[in-house]
Subunit: 164 residues, 2 copies
């Protein structure tokens, strides 16, 4: 599999942080960047992609920032990943089975999808379905269990301090 | 998911054709290219990648060509895909959870893999496992059932004529 877009990790981490915000509160791109040790300009590009995909909403102005566009249990990991990398298939069939001068060019000979395409798309459907079945709420639950007390408290204080 | 390498379709189709060759016979890159309507120089790049990954063997010389390096039931679809795109993970975790000045930098706080990484790798494992469980022999079987008589005969004649 090709390496996913560079911003996928940042987008997932930011989405989880936004999922932990109280309703109607926002965090600025600058604060989200500082929390993850990322440059603001780098992160803004990916936050814009999340907003364009309706995963996040951007509130403009000096007191503006980002919040989730839907509830955490209504945003899947796939929503976040596809916001960065797009929803297209990984395997793109260019129908080379029909090319060349050996096989026929009659379209009726190719009514069914190529079996290679079918198997390739079935495999990537497993990946897509798995990510579609997991939401930001599941990730929040992981964090509850897995993040140590020190870090949990540090992030909670940061969010409490920076939210607008 | 990012779009797979451009050569994956060609590599899979060529691998199936080579799986249909009698043992110890080869087909030239030129003939494999002609069969699929591809330029020889384009295809040679991908045939070299298949050979580098020990999916195919290249016999040099004017009567040389390509054959499978193992039996068709010993070469998975994943072997072919990874020959073109590499075996690396799609999701690369750069540990941004440890970056920034909010969370601790103490390594002991990050002994377990990040839960986002775990879920992302588990999803792509489904894709990888699915492709690993399907071999060129399975694709040959598809072809037996699904390719129409005209094309099946045309390809068989081409292979019979061009094999060396």
């Amino acid at each position: 599999m090709r390496r996913l877009g560079d911003g996928v990790e940042a987008a997932l981490h930011c989405a989880v942080i936004l999922a932990a915000l109280p309703r109607n509160k926002v965090l600025s791109g600058r604060d989200l960047a500082a929390l993850h040790g990322l440059s603001e300009s780098y992160l803004l590009k990916h936050l814009r992609a999340l907003t364009a995909a309706a995963v996040t909403e951007a509130l403009p102005g000096p007191r503006g920032g980002y919040r989730l566009a839907r509830r955490a249990d209504e945003i899947s990991m796939l929503d976040v990943v596809e916001a960065i990398d797009g929803p297209g298939p990984a395997y793109v069939c260019r129908e080379i089975r029909q090319k060349g001068d050996v096989t026929t060019n009659a379209p009726c000979a190719y009514k069914a999808d190529c079996f290679i395409k079918r198997r390739m798309l079935a495999a990537e459907k497993l990946w897509r379905d798995a990510l579609r079945s997991q939401t930001l709420k599941d990730l929040l639950g992981d964090g509850e269990v897995e993040i140590g007390d020190h870090n949990k408290q540090a992030v909670e204080e940061f969010i409490g301090d920076k939210q607008r």
